[in-house]
């Protein structure tokens, strides 16, 4: 410390020292500044992170991936439905991931792409939404929340993050639905599906979707769409969770194992 104190008074070195942080501080800078991640010791992480282990057959860093999520808006609010499987390469890492994030009692978000990417940035968003409430004495609107998230994500564009999110919630006394992804897209819409199984989910969802659906019909449409995606997409599976979002809050409607759903839908076909 003594040397440090002397060097501080030398103008050329002092400037450098005031910016100096230990490697430990730089590696975990996100513990004090949650939007800042430590920089890699190489350029262009999109290409070069993969190159670090491509020369070594033994080393495979498989992040948890793969999903089917969907959300649509109808006369009774928004339905969000998700599967629960996480895969790292060919291996099913977990069959019990909670892919709907409960941001507060008005807002919900779904999680697709890199599991760690999504959960970390949702945690940051949750804290931003709570800070907004404390500063402004009112709940944050969905438009504002998605804009905050989008700004953060956009600042990390082209650095290799992988996320696809659907956010739903009460906004100016109505319910709305947003899609965000790691390319920086932010759009409002009526029907979205994200993830490796989305192509299968869209097939069922688009053919059954209409604005006038009753609540029960909407839940069943979401559930059935995810079920068919888990059936055809190897990267989707586990349990199907259905949430209902209204302007005064959200509800968890059902959590059902894919095997139970399969048996039920097979029995219906035979009738």
């Amino acid at each position: 410390m003594a040397l440090n104190d002397i060097l501080k008074h030398m103008p050329s070195v002092g400037d450098m020292l005031s910016d100096y942080k230990s490697t430990e501080e730089m590696d975990f800078i996100n513990l004090s500044q949650n939007k800042v991640l430590s920089a890699p010791p190489y350029s262009n992480p999109v290409e070069n992170l993969a190159k670090l282990h491509e020369n070594n057959d033994n080393i495979k860093i498989n992040f948890d991936h793969g999903t089917t999520t969907l959300g649509f808006i109808y006369q009774g609010g928004v339905v969000l439905a998700v599967d629960s499987r996480a895969t790292g390469g060919q291996y099913i890492g977990s069959q019990s991931v909670r892919k709907v994030v409960e941001i507060n009692d008005l807002l919900l978000g779904t999680l697709a792409g890199g599991a760690a990417d999504c959960t970390y940035w949702y945690r940051v968003l949750t804290s931003e939404c709570r800070l907004y409430e404390l500063r402004n004495k009112k709940k944050i609107s969905l438009a504002a929340a998605t804009k905050i998230m989008n700004n953060i994500i956009y600042s990390y564009k082209n650095s290799g993050l992988s996320m696809g999110m659907i956010l739903a919630g009460g906004d100016m006394n109505q319910v709305s639905l947003y899609y965000l992804d790691s390319d920086g897209t932010r759009t409002m819409g009526k029907v979205f599906s994200v993830g490796s199984g989305s192509i299968f989910a869209y097939g069922v969802l688009d053919s059954g979707y209409k604005w006038e659906l009753t609540d029960e019909q909407a839940y069943e449409l979401g559930r059935r769409s995810i079920y068919h995606a888990t059936h055809r997409d190897a990267y989707s599976g586990g349990t199907v969770r259905v949430y209902h979002v209204k302007k005064d809050g959200w509800n968890l409607i059902s959590e059902e194992d894919c095997l139970d759903l399969h048996r039920r839908y097979e029995a219906e076909k035979k009738k």
């Binding site: 513990l31 991640l37 190489y42 350029s43 020369n55 948890d64 291996y91």
Partner: protein
Amino acid sequence: MLGINQFPEYQVPGAVQHQFNPYENNGGSIVAIAGDNFAVIGADTRLSAGYNIFTRNHSKLFQLTSSAVLASCGNWCDSDTLTSILQTRVRQYSDTHENKEISLNAIAQLLSTMMYGRRFFPYYVSNILAGIYEGKGYVYSYDPIGHCERHTYRAGGSSSALLQPILDNQIGLKNMEEKPTIPLTVDRAVKLVTDTFISAAERDIYTGDGVKISIITENGVEERQIPLRKD
């Protein structure tokens, strides 16, 4: 990254190529089971690289508090760095909170955030955290960039794909029409962990030599060591 590939005229036989290879796989397997009022966590004691065995008595368990033990395997130097920094932070917490121990769920979140901080240059490790919180047993598992999930049982490391199905069958009772009702006691959990490692040592070259098991109860942490095949 700037490499020999950008300079084709230098790609001749005999040219020495240097590359940045920060990762190595040192193998090892870890297993944890959570019960109603206890948690059991085990790790094998072999440290290897490629076809070489470096050490047969090498602990992959790190006791963080009187009710939390972390198991970490993969790239040993990454495990070593990550766990020592985590241990420092755990100590800092108790020093700044009048010797109050950090809770298990706080460690779980701290570890996740620390691992995600290195999102663009990850620690190549497989971590499982086990312990008790408010009298109940918990197990948390991680992917290399800090995705954290709570489980009741979990296998990680080089033979995770061999060990996890045994646990799914014996504890998760997955896909059974008639589920047997065998209570999960400390004894049964320890026996299961031992058995899974015996099975893994039979088929995985990176697992063997011995198992270190930590049993976490309200009375603290008890350590046991059980020998395995040494070939």
